[in-house]
Symmetry: C2
Subunit: 577 residues, 2 copies
């Protein structure tokens, strides 16, 4: 059986239209008001065709061939450049960008569904365009008029690609420790000097121009994270000459072999400040938040492709006289994968819709609230979807048995490729701290209260329908557990500043169960609306969601217990001999 991908168009449409009612929200969002579900469906159908025909076939090729470095120039695998050209010609990079800059101005939620497809089918190829939107947002909001007029249209349409140059050997999670220098020049530019590592897509042959967004320190900048500035450093200078930076080496990695992970040296390269001096991290965080949602969508794409291939295998493979799909152990594996994938899709798309509303909704109160919700959901989406992608890919490998461990099967590449997403753009441990400390506790629980309000409304609606009462009650119980746990941690934090750090990981896992309980309930209720037009589909959907409720949600109690085990000891580690 060849590893294949059929975009889950039916489920995407269901989540967007029925579960989230996105077109109703978009109608209140001036520039998005024209986007109805038929437009959305047409775009996604076209994307599905492009992804399957053009991008998917390069996945195994890219894994086998990898990137190569000739001098300081990176060569991508055969076919990558042509596929990217077709991607630009198809207008895909411009999907969510503003018409002022050549974009199509479609909702981020539509773009999110496209990104899901791209990452599942070819994570490594998708690494090149996946950073575009973050660069676009950063430049649009913080760039000078001159920089925007020079670069923004090309970025908004994908003619120029972008890279984020953050990490240095001594500065991984701790960006405040970075030392790359930016020396102001009389002409207003900066001379950038320093080394960076793990820079994805810093060089390649997909586009002529590449811009780096580089974190650096200006002279006399305060130490730590308050002294960091952001610079735009192009590959080609305005006069057409090559800028002074060098790719020293490419990393040999577990997966995403076709994504060029570069060690870079800036040797007095020319750049220009984006935003205010020493406010680089704030500008960068705009890019990082977009990037973190995208990373969550990478997880979702991997989860989907692993699940659907395992499902096909389960119906093709006969053991003990019947397809293995009939064996309870395989049913558990696959129903779990489906319940998590479909639930996570609802959560991720909800975050994307929040970004659309935060940007465009006519009502300022709605904009503010949706912005809070997007910020709250982002670390959850990033951490949960990437962790579960890895778990699901591993479970899918079990369905294939021994073949799953071999290269030609495809699922082991998914497992290797998706693993990086738990690390980059802030490790999942960093996301857990971000969720609990910055997004839940820092505003006194205000954003959380908004989310719980939305979830409780769903619970009430389910409780009102006799056939969905179990969903409603379970969701209500999760809301109560979340509220209570948060209050307990907040109270403890007053006298014990480390308490949230100890609780963060368990809190994120528990919070993920809460969000899934909501997603399953909302999906089951929305499925009732399709019960007349497609009863078999509606029943099966409800059964998968109920599988989540009955078999997966019981793990939530243990997570809440750990999150509130405030007296439990977390001893110091003993140094190795």
């Amino acid at each position: 059986m060849a590893y294949d991908y059929l975009a889950p168009l039916r489920d995407m449409r269901f989540v967007i239209a029925r579960v989230l009612g996105a077109p109703v929200s978009w109608a209140q969002c001036g520039p998005l008001a024209d986007c109805d579900i038929d437009t959305t469906a047409a775009v996604l159908e076209e994307a599905a065709r492009f992804v399957r025909e053009v991008v998917l076939p390069l996945n195994a090729v890219g894994d086998a061939e990898g990137c190569t470095l000739h001098g300081s120039a990176v060569t991508t695998p055969a076919g990558f450049g042509a596929a990217y050209q077709a991607y630009v010609e198809g207008g895909w990079p411009a999907l969510p960008t503003h018409p002022d800059w050549g974009g199509q101005g479609l909702p981020l939620l539509v773009d999110a569904a496209v990104r899901e497809m791209l990452s599942g089918c070819n994570h490594a190829w998708n690494m090149y365009p996946d950073l575009l939107h973050g660069a676009y947002e950063t430049l649009k909001h913080h760039g000078s008029e001159e920089l925007k007029s020079r670069y923004l249209a090309d970025i908004a349409t994908g003619r120029t690609l972008a890279a984020m140059a953050l990490t240095e050997p001594q500065a991984g999670s701790d960006l405040g420790a970075l030392t790359t220098k930016g020396l102001p020049q009389p002409d207003g530019s900066l001379r950038i000097t320093g080394s960076k590592i793990f820079i994805s897509a810093a060089d390649h042959d997909l586009t002529e121009q590449i811009v780096h967004l580089v974190l650096c320190r200006l002279p006399d900048a305060p130490p730590g994270s308050k002294g960091i500035s952001l610079a735009l450093v192009p590959k080609l200078l305005p006069d057409g000459t090559r800028n002074s930076w060098t790719v020293d080496s490419l990393e040999h990695k577990m997966g995403i072999h076709a994504s060029a992970t570069c060690a870079l040296r800036y040797e007095g390269a020319t750049g220009w400040l984006i935003g205010q001096p020493n406010r680089g991290l704030a500008a960068m965080f705009l890019m990082m938040n977009s990037a973190r949602l995208h990373v969550g969508l990478q997880g979702l794409g991997h989860q989907e492709i692993a699940t659907q291939n395992a499902l096909r295998q389960a119906f093709e493979r006969v053991q003990f006289g019947k397809p293995i799909a009939e064996h309870p152990a395989m049913r558990h594996l696959l129903l779990r994968a489906q319940a998590l994938t479909e639930g996570n899709r609802v959560i991720a798309y909800r975050a994307a819709l929040a970004l659309d509303e935060a940007e465009h909704h006519a009502d300022e109160t709605v904009r503010r609230r949706q912005s809070q919700l997007a910020a709250l959901l982002t670390p959850l989406v990033k951490a949960q979807l990437t962790q579960q992608a890895f778990d699901t890919a591993s479970q899918a490998l079990q369905v294939f048995g021994g073949s799953g461990y071999t290269r030609p099967c495809g699922v082991e590449q998914t497992l290797r490729d998706c693993r990086i997403a738990m690390v980059y753009e802030g490790t999942n441990e960093i996301q857990a701290i971000d969720l609990l400390q910055r997004k839940v506790l820092a505003d006194g629980g205000a954003a959380l209260a908004l989310l719980i309000e939305e979830f409780e409304a769903e619970a009430a609606a389910c409780c009102a329908a006799p056939s969905l009462r179990d969903f409603g009650e379970a969701l209500q119980a999760q809301c109560a557990a979340a509220t209570q746990a948060t209050q307990r941690i907040a109270a403890q934090a007053k006298t014990d500043a480390q308490a949230p750090l100890r609780a963060a990981d368990a809190y994120l896992q528990a919070f993920g169960h809460l969000a899934l309980a909501w997603a399953w309930a909302a999906s089951a209720r929305a499925a009732q609306a399709e019960a007349e037009t497609d009863p078999a589909w509606a029943v099966a959907k409800t059964e998968r969601m109920r599988y989540g409720l009955q078999w997966l949600l019981p793990a939530a109690a243990g997570c809440w217990q750990r999150a509130t085990a405030l007296d439990a000891a977390l001893p110091a580690l003993v140094a190795p001999a």
Copy 2:
């Protein structure tokens, strides 16, 4: 930081002597009575040196180089052959085999600790000798005198290596579906014809002679698993000529690149029956049980090497002004890894000790009981240790961050290599069914009752010590939960034969928590005995075990709940379009 390995000699000795009191048991086991803890410690120290100096350095080399096929002959990576020769000359294959056949007759538990070291340091290399003991046991118990005199001494000392030829394309988990033929010849031999896949170490250049234990069907054999016979098929026939089988290809795999995974064709190869016609599976299961314990030990070895390297990294890597070992998120990751690794070591070694007592104890009642316990613990050890090795290796990768995803770091190889162990020798899903159906329910809970009795004695001992009361009470609660859950499933199974199949996966996970609760309690209590000689070590050990109790055991309740969710629906899967 280079990926390194220091055998956990201190912990091994502690588990063997203090937690399990193995030397006291061995004293009742005639041929093992001479093995005291000093002998054991000396052997393990020597093994640790050999493994670190000879086997570990070939791990990355083997991964990069892999095996190659020239014609039908497999070449292993540079250095593998010399290392194996040193291994044979050091007497390591002969450690647990009988002196009658050139062995040293040491306990299987001692051999288990050596296997743990070997697999963690170089899983692929260890694949070659790791099957020896199963082949030895099978031949010793079921082989004719002639076969034994021809092959057993060379197998017992490692001069000949062995392979298990079970799987065929249509017969993976379902061995009853295999079709390889064995045609009796007038001289008493069999002519073997058929194809096998995924045969580890079927050919290589480590030894001249290789014997295959081949499952096949005699003419007119009954269909299914009751018509399967076992044959010994050597590479070199008694007259020195090459037997008629061919390696058609090697698999390209996610990991263990240096282990030759062969597709084989037997073309009228000469072999001889082992054991009775049509009773091949029974003979093979002896080999499989030994192999399954070894696979669990592979998981343990991987868990150990990943954990200790992550710990070193956590003390070397400075972020936010201090070693990351001080950050709560990293402490959680590492304490979890340590609590699981050390707990799993107790469980695996307990199973190995049970095998020693089952074979050699003077008291027949003890032999029978320990045999039941070994059978009960084997599927747990296989499934839990391999699953947790994968989880722990993934967590260890998080500690390394971006570097962890790159080849030179080493931890990504551990993650890739260890993944196969969840699949082969019976997938972990098969182990879960084996545990619940064959080992727990089939004897009416008798074996389980023996284990619970042992665990309850430990719980009582802990409850009697004020400082260990929490361990004792938690273990008591787990024993009660296990007993109750098992009774409920057994009752349900009377009218609902599928119930155990639905519950099996959750039951295994819950059962694993029970076993860990015992291991943590027993270790904490045993550590008190070292409180005077090495108080810092005893305190730290107890803290790690208590971490398991407080932070990991809360997940057990959700597992027991799922295992007994007898009314929860497990809907049929919907076939893909």
